[in-house]
Symmetry: C2
Subunit: 134 residues, 2 copies
């Protein structure tokens, strides 16, 4: 039975800790400032560009376009262009994108739930710091 040597090799070696490993780029696309929010926004279903832009509050048109392009290239997001006039472009998660986004949503949920603790920790840290300086 034939198998893909290159893919096998790559799978064995993938290591985000290694500077040159391409897995690090992929990880950065999904966890980057806008990547994580774009994927999370698509978790509730397919959406058009402008709807995504409204949901991901603060993103520029250019940054959202770049973000979606990187996610499409990596295979997390699918871009469908319907041949209407004007053309209607819709973005959605691929099955792999859905699996990844589930983990991202869990992470986001945890950060949101724990925000009071994080804020309290920041307050204590800053207080201790100004006590050392003062």
């Amino acid at each position: 039975m034939p198998y893909d040597d290159a893919a096998l090799h790559e799978q064995v070696l993938a290591d985000v800790f290694a500077r040159g490993c391409p897995s690090r780029d992929v990880l950065e696309h999904i966890t980057g400032r806008w990547g994580i929010l774009a994927l999370a926004a698509l978790a509730s279903g397919p959406a058009r560009f402008n709807a995504l832009r409204r949901r991901v509050d603060g993103v520029s048109e250019k940054m959202l376009a770049q973000t979606l392009q990187a996610l499409e290239r990596d295979g997390f997001v699918r871009r469908d262009e319907q041949s209407t006039i004007p053309p209607r472009v819709e973005y959605s998660l691929t099955p792999r994108g859905e699996r990844t986004t589930k983990l991202l949503l869990a992470l986001i949920g945890q950060v949101e739930d724990d925000l009071p603790e994080a804020t309290e920790s920041q307050r204590r840290y800053d207080e201790a710091k100004s006590a050392r300086i003062g």
Copy 2:
């Protein structure tokens, strides 16, 4: 029974999609280029600065210091300074840091496992693009 009104209020409102929500900063600290790798490196146990720096291949001294400081301030990482000569500083995960890092490790594992698929997706995307241009 008294309860913390501010904390309750904050918990209800935390929303990473909102531009000004402080949860967005916390999320960026743990998913940032170096934050995610520093946390993942600490998952295998407490470590000193230089050991972390070797593990997180490519990080500068300054960036690692800033990263650890933000994670300590948010309450994900604990910094212990032992009063030896010279002082020995060790970093470790707090219980909240451990919970968060579990999700990050799952994400990293998925990205590493799926790297062959992502690479193949990138190849197809680039091929289709050059076909459109050419």
